[in-house]
């Protein structure tokens, strides 16, 4: 009797544990192994403020795709290492992601120096890399697996500005141009679109100088521009030198018809710190939250709901857009085979919140840049006309 009872209990327990095991195992069999997408970002150090926004853009995309059932029916898992704002560290980490973590897909890095350093590594491993790139020089090395989707190209920065300028009646356009550009790869990359645009619009370049960072004083530069009666000023710099230039313009009461700035004026601190003095400055960008492409509404909502930001920062949008490009490559190729993803991206159009792109052999879309102008403390879209959120304020009103 006891023996039968023992066997009965044993059978019951066995059935019970088997059912538990089956219960535990069934979702695993049902759900696929996650697709691992890895890379590094500057989460600490000099570029951490921007790097964190790229990370948030990636996370927003991952939450969305997982909410929709995943990529190719599998959930995605992000592995994002901190490269401490060091390009060398970014290279080591991408090697780790590829060889140790065996990531299925790669995440784009930041800033351009890190992307430039990583691009030859991903080429070696034949893995698709969607990022901002490191300007034209990084896309001119014959790499076939890197895509700027969208890129951040200094060489195209003022394309939108000159396209818009061509719509200004010739007699109202500036005639004399002063160019002051930071003496580094970003600053030098700006020159392509400026030279080309000045030539096409018949403007004479009366000053063309580069300055080293950190800029110690902008007074002399602006005094020179004023003396040379330049009515268009290109101050192609970052935030610190950008604000010095604007303050020198105001102090010296130098008010050209237009001031075009490099990178400094598209970051939120420009209007926050400069206030009204930062108004009417033109610049360029590859993404803006007011662009009328599907998906920007979601980015705006996420920035507001999750991060209490009324205006999504630039790199939040970039991060999201790069993942959209990668997603379409994978879904289009219907595989994680990197060469097939690359080939699909090279032969099809991708639709992102920054625009619709077809990539050339360099991995770049057709040259483009949206023209922005700071108006009443907001970065408004001026060009192309179908994206316009505000008419350009031109000529620039005198300083108050």
């Amino acid at each position: 009797m006891k023996k039968k009872l023992f066997i009965g209990v044993l059978v019951l327990f066995t059935c019970f544990f088997l059912s538990l095991y089956a219960g535990q195992q069934s979702p695993v069999h049902g759900a696929q192994k996650p697709i691992v997408i890895g890379g590094s970002l500057p989460l600490t150090g000099t570029y951490s403020a921007t790097g964190k926004w790229v990370e948030r853009g990636y996370q927003l995309w991952a939450e969305e795709i997982n909410g929709k059932g995943g990529l190719l029916g599998r959930p995605v898992k992000l592995i994002i290492y901190d490269d401490k704002s060091d390009a060398k560290e970014a290279v080591s980490l991408i090697e780790k992601v590829i060889t140790v973590d065996k990531a299925d897909l790669l995440l784009g890095g930041y800033p351009g120096t890190a992307c430039t350093a990583v691009m030859p590594v991903v080429e070696k491993y034949k893995m698709v890399y969607v990022s901002m790139g490191g300007h034209m020089v990084s896309f001119s090395q014959g790499y076939t697996y890197s895509f700027g989707g969208p890129p951040l190209m200094g060489e195209w920065w003022f394309v939108g500005f000159f396209e818009w300028m061509k719509t200004v009646p010739a007699d109202q356009r500036p005639k004399r141009v002063a160019i002051f550009t930071m003496n580094n790869p970003i600053g030098v990359s700006f020159m392509d679109s400026i030279y080309k645009g000045c030539k096409e619009t018949g403007m004479e370049i009366v000053i063309d100088e580069k300055y080293n960072l950190p800029l110690t004083t902008a007074d002399t530069m602006i005094m020179k521009a004023k003396q040379m009666k330049a009515d268009l000023l290109f101050a192609s710099g970052m935030f610190p030198d950008g604000v010095m230039t604007i303050r020198a313009c105001k102090a010296l009461d130098y008010s050209p018809k237009a001031i075009a700035q490099g990178i400094g004026s598209v970051i939120p601190e420009w209007t926050k710190e400069l206030g009204k003095d930062g108004d009417y400055v033109f610049s360029g960008t590859s993404w803006h939250y007011k662009l009328k492409y599907p998906g920007n509404d979601k980015v705006i909502k996420a920035a507001k709901d999750k991060y209490k930001e009324d205006e999504p920062p630039l790199y939040f949008g970039f991060g999201y857009a790069w993942m959209q490009t990668l997603q379409q490559g994978v879904e289009g190729a219907k595989t994680l085979d990197q060469t097939k993803i690359r080939d699909w991206l090279r032969s099809h159009e991708v639709k992102t919140i920054a625009g619709n792109f077809k990539f050339d052999s360099k991995g770049l879309p057709k040259p483009f840049a949206y023209l922005t102008q700071v108006i009443d403390g907001n970065v408004e879209l001026i060009w192309p006309p179908e994206m316009r959120t505000h008419a350009a304020v031109y000529p620039k009103p005198p300083w108050k």
């Binding site: 403020a49 002051f180 003496n183 300055y211 020179k224 610190p240 010095m244 102090a251 601190e269």
Partner: protein, 290 residues
């Protein structure tokens, strides 16, 4: 190509800028001269004072110059504590210069990261009601904020000079710097004097940081850039020389301003650091070190 107005403007802007470099460099020179401590964190403490000024202005509308009432004593006492607990232990080191550089480099990194955690890496700009105001003398302009920062610098340098030359403690600091053993034999407590000198240097870093913030935007990593000018001021002026640092700051400002008027902007650093090499070759102890 340019008329005399450009040249005069360059001189004026250069001198105003140089005066600020001078104040920032004086304290750096003092610790280097008196106790052979090269304080790599000097500029980071300047940034800390700039943040105190910034938040005082943004949150409470306090003028940045008034913020010095808070930041100078805070930094002075911070200097005393740092000297007591970090600098004093390394004075036993065989090579105090190298040991101090490594120690204060670590201190700068810690301070930078604490500021990054507290205030992020967003660029900050001190914008007062007079930030864009200027005094016109013919075609030449003098910006009110630059002039104020310059005045703070002159007052700061004068205060340090008077302290060192007219007060008993100041004279003890100088004696220690000129002949430590002789000063000790005279009953001067070297540790106490060095401690005060360090506190004073950190307070001057604060004043210099606020003066710099009137002209330049800043964020925590900006101290790395500002540090270059500290070395320049001290090497040109001579280690430990207050008047030397003041004059070196003005010379550097003048060269920067004038070279911008006569040469393309990218030549400024070539000329400036070229001058540094020439000075090091001709007078390695600095132009004004007696």
């Amino acid at each position: 190509m340019f008329n005399t107005a450009v040249v005069i403007q360059s001189i004026v802007s250069g001198l105003l800028m140089g005066g600020i470099f001078a104040l920032f460099g004086v304290g750096f020179s003092l610790t280097w001269g008196v106790m052979k401590v090269i304080n790599i964190a000097h500029a980071a403490f300047g940034i800390l004072a700039a943040y105190i000024a910034y938040w005082g202005l943004v949150l409470y509308g306090v003028d940045p110059i008034l913020s010095l009432i808070v930041s100078l004593p805070v930094l002075f006492f911070a200097g005393l504590l740092i000297h007591r607990f970090l600098i004093q232990p390394i004075t036993r080191s065989k090579d105090i210069v190298v040991a101090s550089m490594i120690l204060t480099f670590g201190l700068a990194i810690i301070l930078e990261n604490l500021m990054l955690v507290a205030w992020t890496s967003d660029e900050r700009l001190i914008t007062t009601s007079y930030s864009s105001k200027a005094i016109f003398i013919g075609e030449i302009i003098i910006r009110v904020s630059s002039l104020l920062a310059f005045c703070v610098s002159i007052l700061g340098i004068a205060a340090i000079y008077l302290f060192l030359h007219k007060t008993r403690t100041g004279k003890a600091v100088r004696a220690t710097w000129q002949d430590p053993e002789g000063a000790a034999l005279q009953g001067i407590k070297l540790t106490r004097v060095s401690m005060i000198a360090f506190g004073l240097a950190l307070a001057s870093a604060g004043a210099g940081g606020v003066a710099m913030a009137y002209m330049y935007s800043f964020n925590p990593p900006a101290h790395n850039l500002w540090l270059i000018y500290l070395f320049l001021v001290v090497i040109v002026g001579g280690v430990g020389s207050i008047i030397g640092s003041a004059l070196a700051g003005l010379i550097i400002g003048l060269i920067t301003g004038l070279s911008g008027a006569f040469f393309p902007q990218q030549w400024i650093n070539v000329l400036l650091f070229g001058l540094l090499i020439v000075i090091l070759l001709i007078k390695p102890e600095g132009l004004f070190k007696s």
